[in-house]
Symmetry: C2
Subunit: 327 residues, 2 copies
Amino acid sequence: MKLASLKAGGRDGSLVVVDRALQNYVSAAGIAPTLQQAMDDWPNAAPRLNALSEKLNAGECAETRRLDFAALASPFPRAYEFMDGSAYLPHVERVRRARGAEVPESFYEDPLMYQATSAGFLGPRDEVPVSSEEYGIDFEAEIVVVTDDVPMAVSEMAAAEHIQLVGLVNDVSLRNLIPPELAKGFGFVHSKPRSALSPVLVTPDELGDHWRDSTLHLPLQSWLNGKLFGEPEAGVDMQFNFAQLVAHAAKTRPLVAGTIVGSGTIANQDESLGASCLAERRMLEIIADGKPRTPFMSFGDTIRIEMLDRQGQSIFGAIEQMVVPYG
Amino acid sequence: MKLASLKAGGRDGSLVVVDRALQNYVSAAGIAPTLQQAMDDWPNAAPRLNALSEKLNAGECAETRRLDFAALASPFPRAYEFMDGSAYLPHVERVRRARGAEVPESFYEDPLMYQATSAGFLGPRDEVPVSSEEYGIDFEAEIVVVTDDVPMAVSEMAAAEHIQLVGLVNDVSLRNLIPPELAKGFGFVHSKPRSALSPVLVTPDELGDHWRDSTLHLPLQSWLNGKLFGEPEAGVDMQFNFAQLVAHAAKTRPLVAGTIVGSGTIANQDESLGASCLAERRMLEIIADGKPRTPFMSFGDTIRIEMLDRQGQSIFGAIEQMVVPYG
C-alpha cells in the first residue's frame, strides 16, 4: 500500500491511502487520523489500511478523490527520530577527496550515521526557504525506511523485520556551513535544515523483487532545473543495507514506531550515471580542472527527485522543490 | 506552574498540574491530554493550565491526588526535537584537556550544540539500561528549556520570549563510545542514548529572580550513590544563555512547539564546587596524578540530580536513576 498525508488537518496532517498509480486517494481517518498514529498502533492499523488499499486499487471505494500533489504534506509532517546514514561509500570517498581527506578503513565496516532533525519535514512540493545563497545550497537524493518499535541492540536479521515503509528524501544540505560544523565535532545543526520526504511512503511488498536484502534495487533520478542530473543505481555500492543501518541506529537505544532511517546520498563508483547531489559533481570537476564549474543552487532553482519502476511508473511520486529566499 | 506527565495513558502519558511543593497533582485532561498537545496550542492552553495551577496551590481543587514520583513518565515521554548545547566552557575545557586537545577561540563566540535524540525520554525514576559497563557509563546534569513555535533565524532578543518551560535533564553519556564517534565527525549516535528529564517542568515565573537574562541562577546538585558529587552554580560560567542557545538552534530551521534546548553539563571554573559528570572529575585526577581514580558508573550505581531553591525546596523534583544491565 501507499500512504500519504494531506496538509488539511492539524500539525500532523490527515492520513490517506493512495492508489498504486498515484491518481486517487481515500481518507484513512476511520483507521488512524495520522500516519504517526497508524505507526503507534501498526499491528492493528496495517492490516486495516492494507484492506482499504486493496479496495481502492480494485476500484471498489466510493469515497475516492483525485490526488493533488500540492495538497500533500510530508507523510510525516513531524517525526520523533530521523537517523541518516551514509551507506554509499562512493559519495563519502568523493566528498572527502574534495577536501583532501582520506576515508578511514573503519568506514567500510562501521556505518556513518548522524542524528538528523525530524521535528519538521517540508511537503514534497513545498519551497525550500534559505536565508542566504552564500550557504551553498545543495540537495541530496536518498532512500529512507520507516520502522515500527525496534528493541535496543536488535540484531541485523531481526532489524529487517521492523522495516515497514520505504520512501525518498531530499536531504537539503548547506555545504558552506558544513566544514565549520564538522570542525566542531558535534555533527550537523545549521548545515542540515529541514528535509522533504516523497509524496507517498510504500510498504516493501509494493516494490516486488526490487526490494531484497533490505536494499532497493532501482535507479534514483535527480532532475535539476528540468534536466536529468543523475540516476545512480540504489542497489549498487550500498555498503550497508537498511537492516544494518537500523541495527546500527538501535545499538544503544530502542527506536520508537515511526523512526526514519536514511541511506545517505545514492552514489555509484560508475561516474557515468551522474550524482545525487551537487557536491559530488563539483568534486569531480575539481579533480579534473582544479576548480568546480557547477554552482550550488540559486534562488529559483528547482530539484525533482523520483524513482520509476521498470514500466516507467513513479513509485513514490516526485519530490519537486524550488529554493527560495527566506524572510 | 509545574507540569508533569503520568505514565498512565498512551505513549505520551497524561498531563497533570503539580503543586508548588510537589505534594499533590490534578489532572489537566480537560485542557490538554498530553504536554505535547498543550505545547501545540500553548497560547490557549497556558492560561487555562495556569488558572488550574492557581486553584491547586490555593487548595481549591477537589480532585487532587498525592504525587508519586515513581508513577511519573518524563514530562515529554517523546518529543520532536532536542538540541543540546555545551554552554559551560569549563566543562569543554576540562574534557578537551583530558584528551590533549585545545579549545578553539571560536568556542567562546559560537555555541557548541548537537542534535540529540528526542524520540524517547526515560521517566525521572526509571532505570538506565546499558548493554555493557565497558561503554563507560556517565551522567551529565544539565538544565533544559522548552520553546513554543520559534521562527527560523529568530533574534536572540525574540528567542527569549519563546522559552515557556524550564527543567533538568540527566544526559546519559557512554564515554568510551565518544572518541570513535567524534573521530567520524558526524556527532553522537551510540554515545548519547536516552536521557531523563526532571519529574516536572516549570514556567520561568516559578523561578522568580533566579531566572534572569535567560539564565537560571541556582546551584545544581548531583548525588552519586547517595553522596554529594557536585553543586556548581548554574548562573556562573554560562558562556551562552538560553536565548542565545535557542537562536543558535533556530538559525536555519524553525523550531516546533515542544522543542527542548539543553545547556550542556553545568560546570564552574571554581573546582571546589565539584562537577556534574564523572568525566570532569576523572580529568582533574588525570591532571593531578596522571590517571583517573574515580571509575565510571557500574550496574547498581545511582545518580540523583536536583535543584533546590534558597529555602531548600526542590523546584523540579529529583531525577533518581539506577544504572542496570540491559537484556
